[in-house]
């Protein structure tokens, strides 16, 4: 019965979304505030009904109601509570419901908090958000309904893939979906700007907080996914340039570009067309990701819930939504104002350069992901595009971008002095050069890539700090003045500095780990040892362990540091999940400073004398912690920036001030008599 309430609430949410779109559209056409209020009310109601619907699905998973097809396929009564709850969004149907929840949730936020937007802009945005909701809700209701019952319920469920039974992977999808779908608000605002013929500074101020929120959530989601791959797949890889990873990375790249171009539009009124283009692109890439991950057109290590027939429907939604959006763009954007001028050396140019490189990086990832399909379709030849391609194309683009990055924030708007900016960076340059020399001298084996990467990381971190030091006049003004300035720095500045420095931290970790990772695999009997990067790992014993829904062999290994002291006790496991008959590996990670000693227990074999032996692999992943810490800092930067007073409070009031009831600017809004 409760499940039927959920199904009913889902349908009701669809109907409310139709009402939302209809009322808000009419409100815009007739300029009727009452209808606008109806549309906003419907948006909020659509979210609450869908929240009820989602709660009932979680309930069905928690009580293991196997008469619901989705629960029977994806859950098991012996699973721990956390993973039964997480199972609600572990399947195709459940994940689409979560997508819809995020869509309506953002619609409700837009309706509830969008008070500062002009009436026309807001009505169109709410209507568009409703339309996006209709597409995915209708898809969920008719093609992917998680509430379908089975006429002949099984006694036990088929369980969630044990690899997915992991805390990071329970949190990964919610963050990712908030990020993907957060970009839908930006899409709706872009449509509204096109319809109203207005994309000025006030509009850009509206775009930024939504983009920041989505970007921060995406950053956390992608990092959680990478972290999960790192410790769960059992060989320490964290990024594979896999189509599914690329699918989440492309919206992130676009959102990053949008954050920067929106600053130009907000501060200087320039590039409105490009900012709108990116705003449309962000959600388009989100939908492309949803399609790629679920349709099975591309082979991937972690494509899940693949279903080609539904893939066609998702492709249709993608094509229609993006097609209409970009058609509107092609029609309306050319008439929009271009905004202020700027000199070749200026903050604007730096941000445009950032956007060019990010756009090229996105294009590279997109083409690399889709090229096998394109060649297959055109020439019937199968080729592969794997990590070596992306390392050769994406990495150089990023290298150039990151090399230029510290100079950007030091340049003035409109016209800047490049020499002065570079002069300020001499400390960063010196430290980076020293890091490179030290690396070449000390690190074994010698690596030019490693030295360059390390210098780049230092350059980014110190370069970002330089900007703050400049603004507080560190070492140049009296202490009191410096502290006063430090306290007066807006959170937006802190956010930017954290994000840029976080990128540097990531670069340090990624380069160090990639370049100086060490690996040793040995077949060990009890009492034998292996050596990796100076660490000695001795196998003490292997004992059976009984988990809630698995049986495991747990090894106990004693790890000694290069100086002979005990580093840690490592207890990797090899688990057998009886429900599905799968084997998984739980690695043991000893954190040593910023580095990881990573121990994996492999299969049991029989040794020469009939005694059991185990394949044990030890990895030394130097500075691996920074790979995940860096993006963490970046996301924190996003959140700090989001908490900036100017974005939180002032947006509404000032935006309203900036748009007094004067004559509408050209081009005329749609539907307005000339």
């Amino acid at each position: 019965m409760i499940v039927e309430v959920g199904a009913f609430a889902l349908i009701l949410s669809l109907i409310l979304s139709v009402l939302q779109t209809g009322a808000s559209t009419l409100a815009r056409v007739r300029r009727a505030p009452v209808l606008a209020a109806v549309g906003e009310g419907a948006a909020i109601a659509a979210f609450f009904t869908l929240a009820v619907s989602f709660a009932t699905l979680i309930y069905a998973f928690v009580v293991s109601d196997f008469s619901v097809a989705n629960v029977a396929t994806n859950s098991h009564s012996a699973k721990p509570l956390l993973y039964r709850v997480g199972g609600a969004w572990g399947s195709h149907e459940g994940s689409m419901l979560m997508w819809c929840l995020a869509l309506t949730g953002f619609g409700a936020l837009l309706a509830g908090y969008g008070r500062g937007l002009t009436a026309g802009l807001k009505a169109v945005a709410v209507a568009t958000q409703g339309a996006l909701g209709i597409a995915f809700l209708a898809y969920t209701v008719f093609a992917s309904n998680p509430f379908w019952r089975l006429t002949d319920p099984p006694v036990e469920g088929r369980s969630l893939n044990p690899l997915l039974q992991d805390p990071a992977l329970i949190l990964h999808p919610p963050f990712l979906y908030v990020g993907y779908v957060g970009l839908s608000v930006v899409f709706s605002l872009a449509i509204a700007a096109l319809v109203e013929g207005r994309a000025d500074a006030a509009w850009a101020r509206w775009v930024r907080p939504w983009t920041l929120a989505a970007w921060s959530a995406l950053t956390v989601g992608i990092t959680l996914g990478a972290f999960w791959a790192y410790y769960e797949l059992g060989w320490g890889g964290w990024w594979f340039w896999d189509p599914v990873e690329n699918a989440s990375f492309m919206p992130w790249l676009i959102a990053t570009a949008l954050l920067h171009s929106a600053v130009v539009t907000e501060r200087r009124g320039a590039l409105p067309g490009w900012t709108i283009f990116l705003a449309l692109g962000g959600y388009t890439f989100s939908m492309l990701g949803a399609f790629l991950v679920r349709s099975g057109v591309l082979t991937s290590v972690h494509a899940f819930a693949v279903d080609p027939t539904r893939g066609v429907l998702l492709l249709t939604i993608l094509g229609v939504t993006a097609g209409l959006g970009f058609a509107l763009f092609a029609w309306r954007a050319p008439a929009m104002a271009r905004g202020g001028m700027f000199a070749p050396i200026s903050r604007e140019s730096a941000l445009v350069l950032n956007n060019i490189l990010l756009a090229a990086a996105t294009a590279t990832v997109l083409l690399g992901t889709l090229y096998p399909l394109i060649r297959e379709a055109m020439a019937g030849e199968a080729i592969s595009v794997g990590p070596p391609y992306f390392n050769l194309t994406f990495t150089p683009l990023m290298f150039i971008l990151l090399l230029l990055l510290p100079a950007g924030p030091l340049l003035a708007w409109k016209r800047a002095d490049a020499g002065a900016a570079l002069q300020r960076l001499w400390v960063a340059a010196l430290l980076a050069a020293m890091a490179a020399v030290a690396t070449l001298a000390l690190a074994e084996p010698r690596s030019l890539f490693g030295a360059a990467g390390l210098a780049l990381g230092v350059w980014l971190i110190i370069g970002s700090a330089t900007e703050v030091a400049e603004r507080i006049r560190l070492f140049r003004a009296p202490r009191g003045e410096v502290l006063r300035r430090l306290g007066g720095l807006p959170r937006g500045t802190w956010g930017m500095t954290l994000a840029h420095a976080g990128l540097g931290v990531f670069v340090l970790g990624a380069v160090f780990e990639t370049t100086w990772k060490a690996e040793t695999a040995e077949v060990l009997a009890i009492g034998q040892r292996l050596e990796v990067a100076g660490y000695v790992v001795a196998l003490e014993n292997v004992a059976p362990v009984q988990g809630p829904n698995y049986e495991a062999e747990q090894a106990t290994l004693r790890a000694f540091a290069p100086d002979g002291t005990l580093a840690c006790m490592a207890r990797p496991e090899r688990r057998l999940y009886s429900a599905g008959g799968q084997t998984t590996s739980e690695v043991a990670i000893c954190t040593r400073g910023l580095s990881h000693l990573y121990v994996v227990l492999g299969e049991r074999r029989s040794g020469a004398d009939g005694q059991p032996v185990w394949l044990v692999t030890g990895y030394w992943n130097p500075w691996a912690l920074l790979i995940f810490l860096g993006p963490g800092l970046m996301a924190l930067g996003g959140v700090v920036s989001l908490s900036d007073r100017r974005l939180r409070l002032a947006v509404g009031r000032r935006a309203a001030q900036a748009q007094p009831a004067g004559p509408e600017p050209a081009p005329k809004p749609l539907g307005e008599p000339a």
């Binding site: 994806n74 399947s91 195709h92 088929r158 893939n161 000025d200 500074a201 797949l233 059992g234 060989w235 890889g237 189509p243 501060r267 009124g269 591309l298 082979t299 991937s300 290590v301 972690h302 494509a303 693949v306 104002a337 271009r338 202020g340 445009v352 350069l353 060019i356 490189l357 756009a359 590279t364 083409l367 060649r375 199968a382 080729i383 592969s384 794997g386 990590p387 391609y389 050769l392 683009l397 340049l411 003035a412 002065a420 603004r471 807006p490 695999a521 077949v523 599905g580 799968q582 084997t583 590996s585 994996v600 299969e603 394949l615 692999t617 001030q657 900036a658 748009q659 007094p660 600017p665």
Partner: protein, 157 residues
């Protein structure tokens, strides 16, 4: 097979671990072994979803590793090993697409985007400022926004 089922086959392929570095498979010469390992990362495990033979423990990956190691041990160059593999399995086996006319778009596209972007930027520097179509009141309001001391974001002062 259900979608999840397919996932699981892959997962198992990923999880049967430590294969590429298995002491039983290794070459005696460390230099040759290192070269073989580098080559593994460029070779696709054909039956897997999207993995190199370095990461996979599928039976085919094991066979391919044996072939590559054998070729390396016989003193073949990287180019010769790659050709040997593509002759047998087609271009699909290489994770790094060849530089060829058919792949020209793939390799050159990033450069084209950068050049196009740079061209647009230079074009923008050269065209004179368009006339503002804001009303006087709007321009004033925007100026107020920009002059707000709280909104001064890092213009180098």
């Amino acid at each position: 097979m259900t979608a999840l089922g397919r996932w699981l086959v892959v997962a198992c392929a990923v999880l049967c671990l430590g294969a590429a570095s298995d002491p039983g498979e290794r070459l005696a010469d460390p230099a040759q072994e290192a070269r073989a390992r580098a080559l593994f990362k460029e070779v696709r495990c054909l039956v897997c979803q999207n993995e190199s033979i370095d990461a996979s423990n599928a039976e085919l990956a094991q066979d391919l590793r044996a072939i590559v190691r054998q070729e390396v041990a016989q003193g073949r160059s990287d180019v010769e090993v790659r050709r040997f593999l593509t002759d047998r399995y087609g271009e699909y086996v290489l994770l790094k697409p060849r530089f060829s006319w058919a792949n020209a778009a793939l390799w050159l596209f990033p450069l084209v985007v950068v050049l196009a972007g740079a061209g647009l930027l230079i074009g923008r520097w050269r065209t004179p400022e368009a006339e503002s179509d804001l009303t006087g009141a709007e321009t004033d309001a925007l100026a107020r926004l920009a002059d707000d001391p709280g909104t001064d974001r890092g213009s180098a002062s």
